[in-house]
């Protein structure tokens, strides 16, 4: 032991639900018990995750050299770690070094995720010490129209998938004369392969509260809702705890931070319907109804929740607003490429060796994400395809891995960036099965309002089954294409409108998988 003083050592064990899914709670408990037994004073902080999820549970120890990481730690490693002197940052086979200097993290540009994994998520002191509230204080000194102008100038686009400029949406709401307006955060992050919203809510909830409060000031709203999917109970609990603390500190409620702003925020929990991630369906659900999509127009900015002007933005969009106000629109706008400004939070998942959060300026290529950050597949087999942008996104072949990750480049390639999820598959994937699943998922999750989506998806499953069974293959492939065209053009929202994207991309890039199977395998 080289430690001389008896002051407690700060040990970090993430509370993020991904870390918990691989045993972080048991590790935290084991560390607490072992330290007690040896009379070693420690302060145990349950932080968010750094986003290097393959290293979870990633335990960090505060040392004079910085935070030293060890991972992935199992409860059975704890005695050995303590014996090796990990509370002083000593060497051990699980020692990773100073976490901030790990290349995977150091080469990222963390703007939205700057505090996630660093701070205690529900410590308001930690939040302020690490730059929290600077953006809100600056916003409250500005007239609403200047706040809207700053967001517009930053180039911030909706991170939920559609990429609509946030400032333009806000201006529409600001220009409405209604006394009652709402700010709604769409935290119904249902796309497979995406978990950044969850990690923000679990790892830095005050940032989302601050972003929504700035939005409320900018558009003249007094009431806000965070609609969180029920599959995220940890995010629900953390947001509720943070909102209660924020009310106590006058970060929410009347006369926020001594200003004239009054704004309160409520958490609402979804109920397992994927479609409620579509903004109008989410509004219906918030009103206590079936999550059936509304026709647009009217747009929610003019007639949204309960028919009132409503800002609806994704978690990452709203969470990025504070830093834009704090550091200025220009600093944000200088990042990125073309019309995709700032950073995007990419989420690497599926069959990938090093999955997690990569926040970097737009323009990084898929290959960099999958090979340099991701380290290839977890199975060790060759990558065959990636699906980008969730279940409604295209399956891309390796020949397209040099595409720059920006909204327009992806759209031009018949794909979409969506919410930034990248799901990797190895060469054992059956692309006809993936195409069939896209239709099956749409059939299961369609709200049922429009026929192309409700019926088309069921017919889509049947047609793909016939193609794979070898029944009139060419005719049925033509029929599938016709069906895809109809769903794309005729559906009311992105659910039916984009389901053809994974289907068509699978047929186009992996047509061999749609050849007749051997007898009895269809």
């Amino acid at each position: 032991m080289t430690r001389t003083s008896n002051s407690p050592v700060t040990v970090y064990v993430p509370r993020d639900s991904a870390a918990r899914s691989v045993g972080a709670d048991a590790v935290a408990e084991a560390i607490r018990r072992a330290a007690d037994a040896r009379n070693l004073p420690i302060t145990l902080v349950r932080n968010g995750s750094r986003g290097m999820l393959w290293l979870e549970p990633l335990v960090e120890v505060a040392t004079p050299e910085g935070r030293i990481g060890y991972g992935p730690v199992a409860p059975s490693d704890v005695a050995d770690l303590l014996a090796a002197g990990f509370l002083d940052g000593a060497d051990h086979p699980l020692r990773l070094g100073v976490v901030d200097e790990l290349p995977w993290l150091a080469r990222q540009n963390r703007v939205t995720f700057t505090r996630v994994g660093i701070i205690d998520p529900i410590s308001p002191e930690d939040y302020e010490r690490h730059g929290g509230l600077v953006g809100l204080r600056r916003a409250l000194d500005l007239p609403p129209s200047d706040v809207v102008a700053a967001v517009t100038e930053s180039g911030l686009r909706g991170r939920g998938g559609a990429g609509f400029p946030a400032g333009i949406k806000w201006k529409t709401v600001l220009d409405c004369a209604d006394a009652l307006k709402f700010v709604c955060c769409n935290a119904d992050e249902g796309d497979s392969g995406t978990f950044a919203d969850r990690m923000v809510m679990e790892g830095d909830p005050f940032m989302l509260i601050e972003g929504m409060t700035i939005a409320a000031h900018a558009v003249g709203a007094r009431e806000g809702y965070v609609y969180i999917r029920s599959e995220y109970p940890d995010a629900v609990a953390t947001m509720r705890a943070a909102i209660a603390i924020a009310r106590d500190r006058h970060w929410l409620g009347e006369r926020i931070l001594g200003s004239d702003l009054t704004f309160d925020l409520h958490v609402r929990v979804g109920a397992g319907a994927y479609i409620c991630g579509e903004e109008t369906s989410m509004l219906e659900s918030l009103e206590g109804k079936r999550g059936v999509v509304r026709a647009k127009p009217p747009i929610p900015a003019i007639e949204g929740l309960f028919g009132k002007p409503t800002v609806v933005n994704n978690v990452l969009t709203l969470a990025t607003v504070p830093v834009i106000l704090a550091d200025g629109a220009k600093a944000y706008q200088e990042l990125g490429v073309e019309r995709s400004r700032g950073t995007q939070v990419f989420q690497l998942g599926g069959n990938i060796a090093h999955g997690g959060i990569v926040e970097t300026a737009f323009g990084v290529t898929l290959r960099e994400l999958i090979e340099d950050y991701g380290g290839g597949t977890l199975s060790g087999r060759p990558v065959r395809t990636v699906q980008v942008g969730g279940p409604l996104g295209a399956y891309l072949p390796t020949s397209q891995f040099d595409l720059p990750m920006d909204y327009e480049a992806f759209a031009a390639a018949g794909a979409m960036l969506g919410h930034g999820g990248v799901v990797v598959f190895d060469d054992t994937v059956d692309m006809a099965a993936q195409a069939r699943f896209a239709m099956e998922f749409c059939a299961a999750e369609s709200c049922g309002k429009c026929t192309p989506c409700r019926v088309g998806s069921v017919r889509g499953v049947e047609v793909i089954d016939r193609i794979v069974a070898g029944e009139q293959r060419d005719e049925n492939l033509a029929l599938l294409e016709d069906l895809c065209e109809l769903m794309t053009d005729g559906s009311l929202c992105a659910m039916g409108g984009l389901t053809p994207m994974p289907v068509r991309s699978a047929v186009t890039h992996f047509s061999d998988d749609f050849l007749t199977r051997g007898e009895g395998t269809a």
């Binding site: 918990r20 899914s21 978990f195 969850r198 109920a271 659900s285 009103e287 206590g288 990797v424």
Partner: protein, 160 residues
Amino acid sequence: MTTSVGDVTTEAAVGAIAAAHRGQRGPLLPILHAIQAELGHVPQEAVAILARELNLSRADVHGVVSFYHDFRREPAGRTTVRICRAEACQALGADALVNSARDRTGLALGETRADGSLTVEQVFCLGNCALGPSVEVNGEVLGRMSAERLRSIVDEAVSS
């Protein structure tokens, strides 16, 4: 409505929950979540009670209960296993987990054992896409699930 003891209990519970949430805007979803948290499911009798309490039609309430996957019309088993079948988990063998659970328990997705010990369901994404395949057991998410471990989980549920 016939009133047995069970109905009276349901009526009282549902009425109290509705009263506690009535002040919220659009309170039906929070109310249904609270009913399910307390009673384990949303019983049929709750529909008429809520319609009366919230001044909605029975069709409105029924429509909401039936729209959302979360709301159960029947109680679940003592252990509920939800297997993620979304793409990121498919890439790591979610289908093998589904097959393994089915072969072991004889349950198709969405079914509950007759003895009330176990329900097996599908779920589309638990937000644990970098540590799949994922399974949720009584609300706890477990990453990097293997078929073997899942078999021992369902075995334990069935024998308990």
